[in-house]
Amino acid sequence: MTAVTAPTATRAELIDLLRRMREIRIFEDIVQDWFTRAVVRGSTHLYQGQEAVAVGVTSALRVGDTTTCTYRGHGTVLAQGAPLDRSFGEILGKAGGLCGGKGGSMHLTDLSMGALGSFAIVGAHLPISAGAGWAAQLLGTGAVSATFFGDGASNIGTFHETMNLAAIWRLPVLFVLENNLYGEYSPIGTTTVNTNLSERAAGYGMPGIRVDGNDVLAVLEVARTAVRRAREGEGPTLIEAMTYRQSGHSRSDPAKYRPAGELDAWLARDPILLAEAHLRDLGVGESELTALAADVTTRVRAAADRALSWDEPSAQSRFDDVWVTS
């Protein structure tokens, strides 16, 4: 996990941000292919198009900080530092998966990296990050916790309860609202009147800020400010990152409900394209960008192949991990 401290990213840092976004992109493309070809059963929720949010925010974190996220969590867990192969392995339900195959695509978790988990019940994970923040506050570790959730999740009870609790307890928490314009198949404007969701923060006496969620540097800057506040004991921040879900909600969704042109407009603002444009401005040449892309693709593909080769869990293993002692 990179700990960025300079006010703006250097060339090297930006290259690193791009590499990590590409890693997630390739990862998700491979997972999408697996589910389309029914290599895996069940459902999956992909992150293509939102990479700048997870990469930008986690880049403002340091070792010891934590994240929680949703069933659309591959990107966040990888950005937090989970190994590619064990993440693939979990989605494949392999014994070597992050969770031994018990959790699957919606539950990638890597405590060793501070990725406290992916949760499949909308809104359920927000208080988990509040609790991590409370622990940091009591233990004086200075750690910050970031919780990633969607626009649709901002209408469920736990969002309200957790925002309020975190504010009154001044917890070191970043509420990262990934506004990708849709909750499942519903445009946000059909499920709430005031679609400027960052304005909800005021009701809790918490700062709320909207940011271009496809610009990784913009996200990074906003996250740094929020992290600073949190570490200095000034409490939580609501960050609304405006972004777009390039694929459907889940495996079974063709996303027919999208108005014509919407996807293309957002593809033109693809976070990876934007980052590459930044780098060109910094004088990075095409060859370096192509090499980076090729290198990432090779590494991610290799990780996928490793995971595919792993054993299935033994049927007996299903009895493990219910209890510590019983």
Binding site: G101, G103, V322
Partner: protein
């Protein structure tokens, strides 16, 4: 009504799609029926089980924010004012986030008010394991509500039962929790081409799926089909198994089970979900406390493991009771 003279034309349809058909027939029959839930309208449902309803019934079909507590409470309030709401809680596991509304408001309103109101609300939920959805999207949640008087619980196992029971549930004046099993979505069946009340299935009446004389096997939804499979293998071994599907857990048709036990004197209950606190243990308790003398052998409870539902197909398949297990347990019991 069908008379003896006419036989209604039947159409084939699957378990996933018959949901919209049953809803449409009730929405068409009773103008007070309304339907709300997440993406149930414009999108046609997360499982495409409610397609076409919004187009046909307009404002009576409402998409909601992701707010299950508000969804259930809104249904209750609308019911108090004379409507007959059907609410969808996508996955039954999400009943957890609105459990208070279901258990403390919906189930108790009539009682607490001393019978001032009827609360004809139906809550539809996609239930059960086997499709690889992992620990938080695969539970047999009907077992969470058995200890809560005031909620009828319906668990259809066939297309015909889903159609007939859902229509009866909507017409029922008490709150009904209606569980649709995800792993039966592809199951095919036949319903009348035109709305036809003679296809309604009453709540509280079990189905004797297969007659037999050596052992009584009671199972619902996915397990009902595995029990039928097991009965076939048992027949091959010369063992005659009677398979009973209660179809509704509350009210429970104990009489049909008892009648069967008078023949067989042997009981096997097959339940999806962990053994403790489930309907299987409740049935075994009812039979042994009230009809002890009917049993010539220990009752058998075949349930899932006492663990959450694991994701990996190897693990999830092992977690669910298998037909082979039912066969061997039943055979052992007959040999007891």
């Amino acid at each position: 009504m069908t008379t003896l003279l006419e036989t209604p034309r039947l159409v084939e349809i699957n378990y996933r799609k018959v949901i919209a058909r049953a809803l449409a027939d009730e929405l068409a029959t009773d103008p007070t029926v309304v339907f709300l839930g997440e993406d149930v309208g414009t999108a046609g449902g997360a499982f495409t089980s409610t397609e076409g309803l919004k187009e046909r019934f307009g404002d009576r079909v409402r998409d909601t924010p992701i707010s299950e507590q508000a969804i259930v409470g809104t249904a209750v309030g609308a019911a108090l004012m004379g409507l007959r709401p059907v609410a969808e809680i996508m996955f039954a596991d999400f009943a957890g986030v609105c459990f208070d509304q279901l258990v403390n408001t919906l189930a108790k309103y009539r009682y607490t008010s001393g019978g001032q109101a009827t609360v004809p609300v139906t809550i539809r939920m996609a239930n059960g394991a086997g499709a690889g959805f992992g620990p938080q999207h695969s539970q047999a949640a009907e077992n969470w509500f058995l200890n809560v008087p005031g909620l009828k619980i319906v668990v259809p196992g066939t297309v015909e039962d889903l159609y007939g029971l859902l229509r009866s549930a909507i017409r029922d004046n008490d709150p009904v929790l209606f569980f649709e099993h995800k792993n039966l979505f592809a199951l095919k069946g036949r319903v009348p081409a035109e709305p036809d009340d003679s296809f309604l299935v009453p709540l509280g009446v079990a189905a004797v799926v297969r007659e037999g004389s050596d052992v009584t096997v009671v199972a619902t939804q996915q397990m009902r089909h595995r029990a039928v499979e097991a009965a076939a293998s048992l027949a091959a071994q010369g063992i005659s198994a009677e398979v009973i599907d209660p179809r509704t857990l509350v009210p429970f048709d104990l009489a049909t089970v008892v009648t069967s036990l008078r023949k067989t004197s042997r009981l096997v209950v097959v339940q999806e979900g962990p053994p403790d606190g489930g309907w299987g243990a409740t049935l075994i308790s009812a039979v042994t406390t009230q009809h002890f003398e009917l049993l010539d052998a220990p009752p058998v409870l075949i349930a899932s493991d006492a663990t959450p539902v694991p994701y990996s197909s190897q693990l999830e398949d092992a977690w669910l009771p298998a037909a082979a297990q039912i066969t061997s347990e039943a055979a052992r019991l007959v040999g007891y």
